[in-house]
Symmetry: C2
Subunit: 483 residues, 2 copies
């Protein structure tokens, strides 16, 4: 067992040296003691890239890393990448959950086969930038027979790609009563609740009012995710519920609440089209700002009470508490500040990509939107950069100090897409909100949308499965088993 030989018992001296008061020793919360870890690499070993996170950014990076140059170690609380743009479809059974999840070992096979590469199911708890070490705690997920334990990993290069968190704007009750739509487990929860409510509303003894409440699905936030989920849901209602839950078909409704305009980043004409299509397919659009979320209703700023059976919260993302806790330079908005090469400046060998990073104000560049597209492009760029550094002999810790890094990262927006229900989609190919360019609606867009996503699904296995899922849904309708 090669890794076992690298096991490191932390000496008491190394613990004494580091202290949370030392600003170079960056800690998150609840840090206790450690039992082992991966030692710094030796000259006869490959340099080690440690990646925190397994989202679009981290996975694209790992896919691109040359494993002849580097060993790759990934630390994340989930062992797969979620294909987020298709997550909304899994809630109503159009796609299987498994079709939108890609195991990391399939994205970068070295992770599970190369002797020095690993995936660790853990959360990062702190970073010791002087010693080039990250401190981690295992995720044990409610298994009562095992306590989480701490370990540390020495890195040659560190890439922070741990993503962002759903924004709740400090509104009370959101975390308790609403469901986000960012992980497969969220989609599973939405599906279970939706099917439970459908079945409960059919049981005798329920009042008309309670029935309407149970079958009222409220979506907060009119960005692409909120719009796509509303569209999928009303599609499911129009097509499947009316056939299979005939008893309750007149009671189920979808309401989309947004403080401003839906799809605010899209072209005017596309926005109008989306509004028309959503309304036509039965989604009620409502202007409002949520003040309070209670177990069975939400209260808006103007005092309106909206009873709900299912509440999906999709108002964008912001820096996570982990990112907050790191004492690193920050970008406007509180993300980890990076320079034009996605480095965390003033530190050696630390990079950040994806939703958790943003350009420092000093770069004069805007913070990029939290989009899969941005994260993926950054992952790809950084993989190439690290490969070049490694090839030029700068792979080990502190060995790339004065190296010429070459081309800066430049983001070019390729356009935005969103579905608005059955066989309808928007494609906005303008490069910025003010720019000129192609915008499309309707069936052709929807076809482009499906094709674009199908070719971007990472593995052939899942491409095949997504295609099979779509075909099956088309022929047999959606699956409604509540498992």
């Amino acid at each position: 067992m090669p890794w076992f030989r690298k096991l490191l018992q932390v000496s008491s001296s190394s613990l004494r040296k580091a202290s949370p008061l030392n600003p170079r020793y960056i800690f998150s919360s609840n840090y206790t003691s450690q039992t082992g870890g991966l030692e710094p690499t030796k000259p006869n070993e490959k340099p080690r890239v440690v990646v925190l996170g397994s989202g679009w950014a981290g996975c694209r990076l790992m896919k691109g890393i040359d494993t002849n140059i580097y060993d790759v170690v990934c630390v994340s609380p989930r062992n797969h990448m979620v294909f987020t743009p298709l997550l909304a479809s899994t809630c109503v059974g159009t796609l299987e959950f498994r079709s939108v999840a890609e195991p990391i070992g399939r994205i970068q096979p070295a992770i599970s086969t190369a002797p020095g590469s690993y995936f660790f199911l853990a959360n990062c708890k702190g970073i010791d930038v002087d010693d080039h070490v990250v401190h981690c705690e295992t995720v044990t997920d409610g298994v009562d027979t095992l306590h989480p334990w701490n370990f540390k990993i020495a890195y040659d290069k560190l890439v922070i790609a741990s993503g962002a968190e759903a924004l709740t704007f400090g509104i009370k009750g959101v975390k308790e009563h609403a469901t986000f739509l960012r992980e497969v487990s969220h989609a599973q929860e939405i599906r279970r609740k939706l099917l439970l409510n459908l079945m409960l509303s059919d049981v005798p003894g329920i009042s008309e009012e309670e029935k309407r409440r149970l079958l009222h699905c409220v979506v907060i936030g009119g960005g692409p995710t909120g719009v796509e989920f509303s569209g999928e849901l009303s599609d499911f209602i129009m097509k499947d519920v009316r056939e299979r839950y005939l008893h309750v078909k007149d009671y189920i409704h979808v309401t989309l609440i947004e403080a401003n305009e839906i799809l605010s980043s899209f072209d005017d004409r596309l926005r109008q089209y989306a509004t028309k299509q959503l309304t036509k397919s039965g989604v009620r659009l409502m202007r409002g700002i949520v003040k309070d979320v209670q177990p069975q209703k939400i209260i808006l700023n103007d005092g309106t009470e909206v009873p709900y059976g299912l509440l999906v919260w999709s108002t964008g993302v912001g820096p996570s508490s982990f990112i907050h806790s790191l004492q690193l330079p920050k970008s406007p908005g509180g993300r980890i500040g990076v320079d034009e090469w996605l480095r965390v400046p003033s530190l050696q060998d630390v990079f950040s990509i994806g939703d958790c990073c943003g350009f420092l104000e000093s770069t004069g560049r805007p913070v990029l939107p939290a989009l899969a597209q941005v994260a993926e492009r950054q992952g790809k760029y950084l993989a190439a950069l690290l490969n070049r550094i490694g090839k030029d002999g700068g792979g080990y810790a502190n060995s790339a100090r004065d190296m010429e890094l070459g081309k800066q990262f430049i983001y070019k927006h390729l356009g935005s897409m969103a579905t608005v229900g059955r066989y309808k989609a928007l494609v906005d190919l303008r490069q910025s909100k003010e720019g000129k360019g192609l915008s499309m609606t309707g069936f052709v867009s929807w076809f482009i949308w499906r094709s674009a996503y199908l070719t971007r699904v990472v593995s052939w296995r899942n491409r095949f499965y997504v295609a099979v899922n779509w075909a099956t849904t088309f022929v047999f309708g959606r699956d409604i088993s509540r498992i």
Copy 2:
């Protein structure tokens, strides 16, 4: 809403009349008050068959019921049938969970479309055999915004098909620490634990001993389910773990513990073949009786301690606490006693099928084994019987008292099948343990096994999916994302 018109407010007099002391009023536990229900059918309505349960027996019955004659109401805590023989394959990712679950609305479409037919997500709490009423409580599954409520359903014909429970023989800790393999949720739990243990065992800081424990999968019970699960698991280890979890491949082991012989219902030669194949594929067979189950180890009768990371309990089934609580005539072994026509004798219009029933001693027939095959045949038989009764005008409550019922139910065993890992299976076509007949092993059996199950999967949708799953596993290997 037709059902809404049938809503019935229970008058206090009807509650006063019935009391748990009255032996005709058969109650289970925790019965409180009711808020509504389905009234007795009127002469201008179709008679109503109420089916308790949605397993093999109940679903085969509902599939066969002529919905031109009857309305069908199903009461069950799950809205789908589980294709149990393939459940073991879902734990390791050979099949998707959804492929082995069939929504009831797809088995009997009238349930979701006919005005008088329903599916209720609920548990039956008691039966009032004099008034022809069942008392139910909704399943709300931890949703904190809704309290379970009670309702009652009047029946013309009642079919109790609520199945059996896993036997624990009163051994301490089984329910807390072991996982059964009877529902899709069990398979999901096994999969989550297995993948969690695989990932945790790779994290630095874990001792050699703890690693061996985490990766030790113990199966208790050498019946077909235990043997098939052990085979699937060792197949997964041989084929997928060795490739994808290279770091831990030498630590993972499967042990099958059985008090007597494995596959005791099979032919001697088949048993020897199974033993040889399982041993060859790395399953350790162990004789032993479990005395105590602790969080990380089991203790056998002879004092041996067996540490485990995953414990699957599969020692057969027995009468559930619901069946126990019903004051009905019982068969040897405590199941609901039925006569040759699957009626509960001395009561009007009450039938029982599947694992929860057994022939009364007075019939002179043996209690049939708890097999899908038996349950399915009984469901089919009873559907035909009820259709004939309905056609002859005996569909309503108390209207078939002196009717000639025709052919008795006779069970003819068609043979048993079990897989023992990769491309190997057993097929035993003898009609009884002592009988003569064909028995087969090896690849041909395995092919028969797959084909037989594939054609028996209820819907074309799932047949298609099971075939696609098998093909994908063959080409791409198993899915290992832990979602």
